[in-house]
């Protein structure tokens, strides 16, 4: 049974976190992947309730406000989905290379480079139709972000540089490039106290999804997640990637081109984060400035690990974390809890989900059904 769950990857200590499961083969197995995380989540909420209770707040109030702030009203839902939208795309930046056993944590850098590339594309095309500008922005954003993470992949493949470290360091380089361009060559001279690029123009802004106040990034994120799922679990490429992730030597022995797999997967991962950056520019900020470094890339790492690197699971987990973010404000306002309490909850969930890893394959209930 254990083998079905996926073999640990041989990338040392971090690799142990990454068991790459084969989903949906057996009904029992699928149920396991829903019930165990749900139990972990419930346990986290109980623990967090106790934690909040120790500070003299009523845990029932806590649960009520969390529900109300995240999912209780139509407005709360939109608030949650707005926050979830960039997370789906940045989580894919970690989840895709994870199939190859790589731990990429530099989604923030790809997002920033994607945003810069997209803004440059829009500013370079002043008098063309908005449709064309937006497509150019998306292509430029995905290309920029893709190259950024492919750089980490190339360093690992050709120079043996640890991709976790290199992708993280590339975040700081991306931020430095962004600050340099925004405060220097690309600066709008009228942006005195808030150095920014020129605006891409109201006509080029991508609006909201009709009927709701959530921008199109949510739809793009869901489409990208579904495509990633199909790529990983239903194509030869994805199968090859998973084989290489399981045992890189075995993959080479059977003649898989591991280098190509790494570069392409990293490029796709970076493209997802780059698209998130493009959406932040085209749907929210309207220009590039330091506001873009809001930590979506880093939050995406958490989402990917909670989703156990499954591209489809990234969607509900993003919505969950978006909901926690949305309800965090209400907790501050109604219960007087500091902002850090939300981080405590996210930390508890993270630990519980990782700890619950040990439960997979141990319950005869699931085995019986599966067998």
């Amino acid at each position: 049974m254990k083998a079905d769950v996926g073999a640990p990857i041989s990338t040392g200590g971090v690799g142990a976190l990454l068991r790459l499961p084969v989903y949906g083969r057996k009904i029992g197995g699928a149920a396991e992947y829903v019930i165990i995380p749900a139990l972990a989540l419930a346990a986290s909420l109980v623990l967090f309730g106790i934690f909040v209770g120790l500070f003299g707040k009523n845990p029932l109030d806590l649960y009520f406000y969390m529900y109300q702030g995240a999912f209780g009203t139509w407005f709360s839902w939109q608030n949650t989905l707005t926050r979830a939208a960039p997370l789906i795309l940045t989580a894919l930046c970690t989840a895709l290379p994870a199939q190859l056993g790589m731990v990429i944590i530099g989604g923030e850098g790809a997002l920033l480079i994607g945003a810069l590339s997209a803004t440059s594309a829009a500013l370079a095309l002043p008098d063309v139709s908005p449709w064309f500008v937006d497509i150019a922005m998306a292509v430029a954003g995905m290309f920029g972000g893709g190259l950024w993470i492919a750089l980490s992949g190339a360093l690992r493949q050709y120079r043996g540089v640890n991709e976790t470290i290199s992708s993280l360091l590339l975040v700081y380089i991306a931020l430095a490039i962004l600050n340099y361009l925004v405060e220097g060559p690309m600066r709008d001279p009228t942006s005195l106290n808030k150095p920014s690029t020129r605006e891409i123009g109201a006509a080029n802004m991508i609006g909201n999804i009709p009927g709701m106040e959530v921008h199109w990034g949510l739809v793009f994120g869901i489409v990208a997640a579904v495509l990633s799922y199909i790529l990983i679990y239903h194509t030869v490429f994805g199968f090859a990637a998973r084989v290489a992730g399981g045992n890189i030597r075995a993959a080479k022995v059977v003649g898989l081109s591991v280098g190509k797999l790494i570069l392409i997967t990293c490029f796709l991962a970076g493209a997802a984060a780059g698209l998130a950056g493009m959406m932040e520019v085209a749907a929210v900020q309207g220009r590039t400035n330091a506001n873009l470094a809001a930590g979506y890339g880093f939050a995406g790492i958490l989402v990917a690990f909670l989703a156990r690197q499954n591209p489809l699971a990234v969607i509900p987990v993003s919505i969950l974390l978006g909901g926690i973010g949305a309800s965090g404000g209400l907790l501050q306002r109604r219960l007087g809890l500091p902002d850090a309490s939300v981080l405590v909850l996210e930390g508890v969930i993270f630990v519980m989900v990782l700890a619950s890893d040990t439960l997979y394959g141990r319950w005869s209930f699931f085995k019986g059904k599966a067998g």
């Binding site: 926050r83 808030k194 809001a294 209400l330």
Partner: protein
């Protein structure tokens, strides 16, 4: 309807429904009092920018009929739009103070257009007549307080070397560095201010490194313009240097090193705005002021500050308060020797040229780019 048939149970149900109904009305009535929302980009107890605003919000809490709701650590993304909407939809806020500079455009503007009956007040002074009329922007001439603190710094330094840890070389920051240095030069024309830019508003590690490096160079009075001066103040004090504070009073962090400081005075402004709002008076869309309008203040001087320094600082403070003193009065040269304000030119606080400041005055060691 046959009244005889109304059972006792029905009766009770009816009464209960009425009670619930009236409870709702009561709640509505309470909500009809003014709810004011405050949004901070960092944490409310950062001993800096956000704490200064939170102190202003706290000053409203005693006012009758005013309810204050607050949210901290809200990034300058669409998250702040949703926070504003959440305060409006779920808390009934009618007056909002998104306090961070980056909240203004496009976030607050978008919300002001969406909720034309509500009032939005932003800190930073960015409003122009193209922006919605139910939005406003206020700011304080804190360089006046920096100028006074600079005088104290100039009298207190023994090495003649001052230090300034700054975030970014933008007009607002340059204006503070220049005003502080010009103040110090009133005490001792030979002082120099070494400036170090950290590159961003909240970079505690770089701020600590900058502070250490300044002390290593012989600097003995340090100030800063970053979001949370805590790191700079504590590190400077630990290394035996003196400090003048910024944003709010940091004397509790370094009682033996804190000479004075330039503080915001939102405790005065926010009750003023809320009174205007509740009495139906329109809050000016563009509101600015300095020591005279009580938008900024100078921390009480420490005991170690010399009598001479206190006297000169009080003199200038009184003149600034009376409106008879100009900080940026020519001739002023920049640190490359170029005259930036000619001998016969006097740039008062409202002069738009000061908003575009892109130079460091003579005596400042450092470059804007």
């Amino acid at each position: 309807m046959n009244f005889d048939k109304i059972s006792r149970r029905r009766m009770l149900q009816g009464t209960a429904a009425l009670t619930v109904g009236s409870a709702f009305t009561l709640q509505r009535a309470a909500a009809a009092d003014t709810t004011v929302g405050f949004i901070y980009v960092g944490s409310r107890d950062d001993y800096g920018y956000n704490q200064a605003h939170a102190a202003g919000a706290a000053a409203l809490k005693g006012m009758a009929g005013i309810k204050v709701v607050e949210e901290e650590k809200v990034p300058e993304t669409d998250a702040v739009e949703k926070t504003m909407e959440s305060m409006i939809n779920l808390d009934g806020a009618t007056l909002l103070f998104p306090t961070s500079f980056g909240y203004f455009n496009p976030h607050m503007i978008k919300m002001a257009q969406k909720f034309p009956k509500l009032r939005f007040e932003h800190c930073g002074g960015l409003w122009t007549d193209k922006d919605p009329k139910n939005a406003g922007s206020y700011f304080g001439y804190i360089d006046e307080a920096q100028h006074v603190a600079g005088i104290i710094a100039g009298y207190s330094t023994k090495s003649g070397k001052l230090g300034f840890v700054a975030a970014k070389p933008i007009p607002q920051v340059l204006r503070n560095i220049n005003a502080w240095t010009l103040g110090a030069k009133l005490a001792n024309p030979k002082v120099t201010t070494q400036v170090i830019f950290t590159g961003d508003w909240s970079m505690p590690v770089k701020e600590a490194e900058a502070t250490n490096s300044l002390v290593d160079q012989g600097v003995d009075v340090i100030t800063c313009h970053v979001d949370g001066p805590k790191t700079v103040v504590e590190n400077a004090a630990r290394r035996g240097a003196m400090v003048t504070g910024y944003h709010c009073n940091q004397s509790v962090l370094a009682p033996k090193a804190y000479l004075t400081g330039a503080e915001w005075n939102w405790e005065v402004l926010y009750p003023r705005f809320v009174k205007m709002f509740t009495s139906g008076e329109t809050i000016p869309n563009f509101y600015r002021g300095g020591l005279k309008e009580q938008l900024v203040k100078v921390s009480p001087y420490a005991d170690m500050v010399s009598a001479e320094a206190k006297k000169k600082a009080d003199e200038v403070k009184a003149a600034l308060t009376a409106g008879t003193y100009t900080i940026f009065k020519g001739p002023i040269a920049d640190n490359k020797g170029k005259v930036v304000i000619a001998a016969d030119v006097s740039r008062g606080q409202t002069d738009p040229e000061l908003e575009k400041m892109d130079y460091l005055v003579e005596g400042v060691l450092g470059a804007t780019s």
